[in-house]
C-alpha cells in the first residue's frame, strides 16, 4: 500500500482505526523440508469464487466469514470476485488475475523446480472483516483441516 501519509484522510483514518485483532505472540512452525519438495496451496482474502458459486455478502453487517473452494484447474475466465469492500482497485485483476491470485505463477514455479507440487484445491475468503469470530471459531479451522487432509505443507496467503 502507498505510505499512509499519501492516502486521503478518510482512507488513512479507516486503515489506522480498523479493528483488526491484536496478538502478543506468534504461533511458529519451522520449515521442515525444502520448498522444492513441499506441496503448496494458495489461500486468498480477495473474495474470489468460481462463477455460479454463492457470492460473498454481509450478513447482519458483521462481515461474511465463509469460504469458497477454487479447484486448481479452474480457468481464470471462470473466477469472479464479489468482495464487498470498494476500497481497492479491481481493474488490474480484470487484466491479470495473477496480480492477486497468482495461480499461473505457482504453476511456473513448479515447472522451474522451486516448488515441489501444488494442492488440488485453493481457498478464498473475503477480507476487510470487522468481526472475525466466525473465522477463528469455524471457517479458519475448517480450511486448516482441509489443507492438512490434502497434504499441504506450505500456504501462500494473498490479500487484495
Amino acid at each position: 500500500m502507498p505510505k499512509l501519509e499519501r492516502l486521503s484522510e478518510d482512507v488513512r483514518d479507516r486503515m489506522l482505526n480498523f479493528p483488526c485483532i491484536e496478538h502478543d505472540d506468534t504461533p511458529w512452525t519451522p520449515m521442515f523440508k525444502p520448498l522444492s519438495e513441499s506441496n503448496v496451496a494458495l489461500v486468498t482474502t480477495a473474495g474470489f469464487h468460481v462463477r455460479g458459486d454463492k457470492p460473498f455478502g454481509v450478513p447482519e453487517g458483521r462481515g461474511d466469514t465463509s469460504y469458497r473452494v477454487i479447484p486448481r484447474d479452474t480457468s481464470p475466465g471462470q473466477i469472479v470476485q464479489s468482495h464487498w469492500s470498494l476500497s481497492f482497485d479491481r481493474t488490474q485483476t480484470y487484466r491479470d488475475i495473477n496480480i492477486t491470485f497468482p495461480m499461473d505463477r505457482l504453476e511456473e514455479l513448479v515447472v522451474r523446480g522451486k516448488i515441489g507440487s501444488l494442492s488440488d484445491n485453493y481457498y478464498s475468503y473475503m477480507g476487510a472483516l470487522r468481526d472475525v469470530t466466525g473465522l477463528i471459531e469455524k471457517t479458519g479451522p475448517e480450511v486448516a483441516k482441509r489443507l492438512k487432509d490434502d497434504g499441504v505443507d506450505v500456504v501462500l496467503l494473498t490479500p487484495t
Partner: protein, 218 residues
C-alpha cells in the same frame, strides 16, 4: 506453515502472523503489476524466502522502485457527464462492441457476472436503476430470488463498473490505472448514475438498502 503478502504493514504489526512480506502497492494490486510475470515472480520469491527464517514473526518490507500514486476515488472528483446529456443506458449500449472486443482479447476472462443479468441487457439494467432513483420502479423482474433487492442493486453496480472498465481497457489497452479510474468517475454517465443511486439509497427507510449505499460509490 504459512507465508504471505500484506498491504497494510501496520495491521501485520498488530496481528503478528508468522511470515509476511509488506508491499507498497495499491489495494487490489498485490503483486505489483498486471501482465508482468517477471515482477510478480520477484515478489513471490521474496515471499517464499521468508520460509528460510529460523524464528519469527518475520515482517519484511519489499524494496522496490517508485511507489505508485494512490487510486482516484469517486468521492474525491466531480462528475461532468451531465453536460453531455448522454443517458447511462445509451452509454452502456455504446460500449458493447468494446466489451466484446475485451472478451475476445482475454479469452472470456471478465469481472462481469455477479448480477446474473446478461451484458446485452445492461442498458435495461441502467434503466431500472434510473427508475429506482426517480421512484418510478421498485424492482427488476429479472432479479434472482436468492438475492435481496439491496444485494441485487450492489451486484448490478459491480457489473456495470466491470463492464465499463473492461470496455475502456479494450478501447485503450495502455491506459494507466489512475487514468482509467479518473475517466470513469469524471466522464461517464454510468458513474453519475451510481453517485445519484448512492444518495437515493442513503435516504431509504430500509436499513439494508441504506447500508448498501455506502458500499457502491466511493
Amino acid at each position: 506453515m504459512t507465508t504471505g503478502v500484506v498491504l497494510i504493514k501496520e495491521h501485520a504489526e498488530r496481528v503478528k502472523p508468522p511470515r509476511m512480506l509488506a508491499v507498497p502497492f495499491n489495494f487490489g494490486n498485490t503483486l505489483g503489476e498486471a501482465n508482468n510475470p517477471d515482477y510478480q515472480h520477484e515478489v513471490l520469491e521474496a515471499t517464499f524466502a521468508l520460509l528460510d527464517h529460523n524464528s519469527g514473526p518475520v515482517l519484511q518490507q519489499f524494496e522496490t522502485g517508485p511507489i505508485p500514486d494512490p487510486i482516484v476515488q469517486g468521492s474525491h472528483v466531480i462528475n461532468t457527464s451531465a453536460s453531455k446529456r448522454f443517458k447511462a443506458e445509451e452509454e452502456v449500449r455504446s460500449f458493447i462492441d468494446y466489451y466484446e472486443r475485451w472478451l475476445s482479447l482475454n479469452l472470456g476472462r471478465t469481472g462481469v457476472g455477479l448480477s446474473t443479468i446478461p451484458y446485452g441487457d445492461f442498458g435495461k439494467m441502467a434503466n431500472f436503476l434510473e427508475g429506482y432513483i426517480e421512484g418510478t420502479t421498485s424492482d427488476m423482474p429479472e432479479r434472482p430470488t436468492q438475492f435481496s433487492l439491496a444485494h441485487f442493486i450492489r451486484y448490478c453496480v459491480d457489473d456495470l463498473k466491470s463492464f465499463c472498465f473492461e470496455s475502456r481497457m479494450a478501447q485503450k489497452p495502455n491506459i494507466t490505472v489512475n487514468a482509467l479510474h479518473e475517466w470513469f468517475w469524471v466522464e461517464t454517465s454510468v458513474a453519475r448514475l451510481i453517485l445519484r443511486l448512492e444518495k437515493r439509497m442513503a435516504s431509504d427507510d430500509n436499513e439494508e438498502i441504506k447500508a448498501e449505499a455506502y458500499s457502491i460509490a466511493r
